[in-house]
Amino acid sequence: MSDREQYTPGPASGAQIQKDGEKWTLILVRELRHSPERVWQALTDPAHLREWAPFEADGSLGAVGTMVKLTTVGAPTPQVSETTVTRADAPKVLVYNWGAQDIRWELEALAGGTRLTLWHNIDRRFISMGAAGWHICFDVLDHLLSGTPLGRMVGGEAVKFGGWQRLNAEYATQFGIKAPNWPPQAAQES
């Protein structure tokens, strides 16, 4: 069996929600056994992003003011967002937008690795889905940098995966919200 077939994500962990009225921000923390320089490269370089991220970039995200097109992977029609990098302090802080949402990364050197923190202001109705998706992306990223790639798991491919569905439910419980209606079952409420 390949690593991908054997892969099962661990339990939901390392997530918090910052609430500002209706605007919620997902905060995810993950410790990686790789240096901030290597993690920075994986966060900014299109060839790395293609291996783990839920979007593809047509240029590097590593310089302030750069206009980059991000294409959401797994959407049934091309979903392209023009993105501007507003902060890029290598290898510490990276800020840009993904459509109307803001993405902020912070990298902190640890002994033998990096503590990676993501802030992402996902619509609160989909925040547990986002947490589950990023959780799996971070596992894929960790494997990629360890030289044992699992292959990207995003979009429709991720949501069919039992591990994603379990994480979505676990994060929803942790955040005290109802798990979104996925996989779709007819919901009578609107």
Partner: protein, 132 residues
Amino acid sequence: MKIKVTSIYVDDQDKALRFYTEVLGFAKKADFSQGPFRWLTVASPEELDGTELQLALNDNPAAKAYQQAMFQQGRPGAMFYTDDVKGDYERIKARGAEFTMPPTGVTASTIAMVNDTCGNLIQLIQLASYSR
């Protein structure tokens, strides 16, 4: 191969979901988001596993121009069959919707046209062969 989903562009997905569920009476089926993308569909409560209608955000300038031209020409963006167009007309009108055409007899059917408030006209059709 099956025709399982069809799409309509809308200018606001939340507003569209309210109109298609609370005013027209469909049921929300799928609602999934990834980054800026949101996959949102509704289905008829009479046929929950039937064809889904995707309420797709119209952030495409070409699609917007097409949608506006269709609307100005009075052409429907989607057509739904009903077995009681007059009843649906009264029910939907009572919920505040604006009809641009009340139930009107045409060849082999009765049709009505309603503004979905999201950039489209929707045609309701009752075929004569469905009449009670």
